[in-house]
Symmetry: C2
Subunit: 305 residues, 2 copies
């Protein structure tokens, strides 16, 4: 699996170009602050340099999904070569995907090149749908069993991209996570309001509403995309949510984990009990004010800190 | 996947027997308290009844690993039958295992019967070893990059069972998680002190020590097993840990998550910075005083709340 990560030196060398292509200075800075400081020492200088090269370039657009600007050391330990040799590519890539789903990987910018076919086959095949389906059914079973109050303060949070709506048609044209994130192209896709519903999520969403939960949609999409987001959700059968929370200008410098934790804290301050939370990123679920139960939908295509 | 979970009614019917077979009254009560209260209403009466049937029976032995006494509703939502029909067993079981690793399942007492062959093939095959290997390499990469102080207060926590030591030889004789947990038989196995090291964990352990981390071994094993645990660890190449923390009588009623969170809090109070934490159960990693980064080793054989 050592070849999955590549060497740190190579990653640092790739850094400036990637940062220039994909990130605003504000985002770089937020990521450095909010991720474990532990992991950044060796790449910070390069990140700062990349920041200096571009000032206030594309600050609004590329909020979600966005790749990590700085690549962290990952799988850089000398692999057990004798064992490594025996491993079929399929096994290595399955390990990579499992590690991503269990939140074991350092932040990653793109699917490892050798695993691009594995990820493509997964998300276009039966396994992804089966995995989404099982998470939705576990969520629904919990939603039905959860003891709800009669004060209208039981809440369930849903992320949007790769949680309620699928951007697979977009990623099909962009390497299923192999390509570095192109925020211009992705914004164009978002503005078409054509993302299909994830069927199991639509079913869960309706059941959670029927059970009487307040439903809060909490997305990293920008406030500027409220109109197209509402249009897309309605077109796909999502209606009657209680709040749709999008990123404001003031949230721009925050990681998704910080931004979403703050919004959950606001919900709690308003008296809501966050019983459930559904998201495809760990940054949708972890941090502070976490839900009683969180559900991690699979997503091997991109990582948001 | 509906057939994986079985019906709630069946689970409730199975409950008293399972509780009588596997749990002390104290443990039942702790589990009811510490897991999300949401999930327990419908099985609480049965749990209380099971508690009344046995008083102070086998209170010391069966502390880890232990199955959940009360089965929670899981996958009880009507599956999408049309889709379900198409799914090969291998896909359903891979979904179940992924959901377990991503902490999406309600507490479970045993591997679903239909997935026993899948779990056996996984843990005895190359994939389990590859998954363990990748997690260890990610952990080591992070350990090397983490900014350490010069005050000797950087700490890394390791769980023991299925983290440093493997109980696979035991589980090979007990259905790889298909059988309900038999604490007498497991205690006998533990007392043989013959559990082999997980090779990638041994390598990681040594590297973390060489980097200067304080290493704390935090296990759900009982204090009564300190001697055999030390013997087993030493025999397998684990030496020089800074603390080996086992469950005391006072910890008996606590879930693993509560017990381990309390121990981490004590470490923090002593001035340690918990930079890393390695465990095969989410209850090793979640709760309070969590590590800067946590690493979830795979384990599809049992669940500890």
């Amino acid at each position: 699996m050592g070849r999955l990560g590549g060497s740190l030196l190579l990653l640092v060398a790739l850094l400036a170009a990637a940062a220039a292509a994909a990130a605003s200075p504000e985002e770089s800075s937020a990521q450095v602050e909010d991720t474990a400081p532990a992991q950044h020492a060796s790449v910070e200088a390069a990140a700062v340099s990349a920041q200096q090269q571009q000032q206030h370039h594309h600050q609004e657009q590329h909020i979600l999904p966005r790749p990590l600007v700085i690549e962290l050391p990952s799988s850089a330990a000398p692999p057990d070569e004798a064992f490594e040799e025996e491993l079929p590519l399929e096994v290595r890539c399955a390990s990579w995907r499992l590690a991503a789903e269990a939140n074991n990987l350092a932040p990653w910018r793109a699917v490892p090149a050798e695993c691009a076919p594995h990820v493509r086959d997964y998300v276009t095949g039966v396994a992804y749908r089966a995995d989404l389906d099982l998470v939705a059914r576990e969520s629904a079973a919990y939603a039905r069993a959860a003891p709800r109050g009669d004060d209208g303060r039981d809440a369930w949070i849903f992320d949007i991209d790769e949680t309620l709506l699928s951007n697979l048609p977009y990623y099909a044209d962009h390497g299923y996570g192999l390509e570095l994130f192109d925020h211009h192209a992705f914004d164009e896709w978002v503005e078409r309001a054509d993302a299909p519903a994830i069927p199991s999520s639509l079913k869960l969403y309706k059941e959670v509403r029927e059970l009487g939960f307040k439903t809060f949609l909490l997305t990293g999409r920008s406030e500027a995309h409220r109109g197209v987001t509402v249009e897309n959700l309605n077109k796909q059968g999502f209606h009657d949510w209680d709040k749709l929370i999008l990123r404001q200008a003031v949230d721009r410098n925050k990681t998704a984990m910080t931004y979403k934790s703050e919004k959950r804290k606001e919900m709690e301050a308003e008296g809501y009990r966050i019983l459930g939370n559904s998201g495809d990123q760990w940054s949708d679920l972890l941090g502070s004010s976490v839900a009683v139960r969180s559900f991690k939908l699979p997503n091997p295509m991109y990582y948001i800190p």
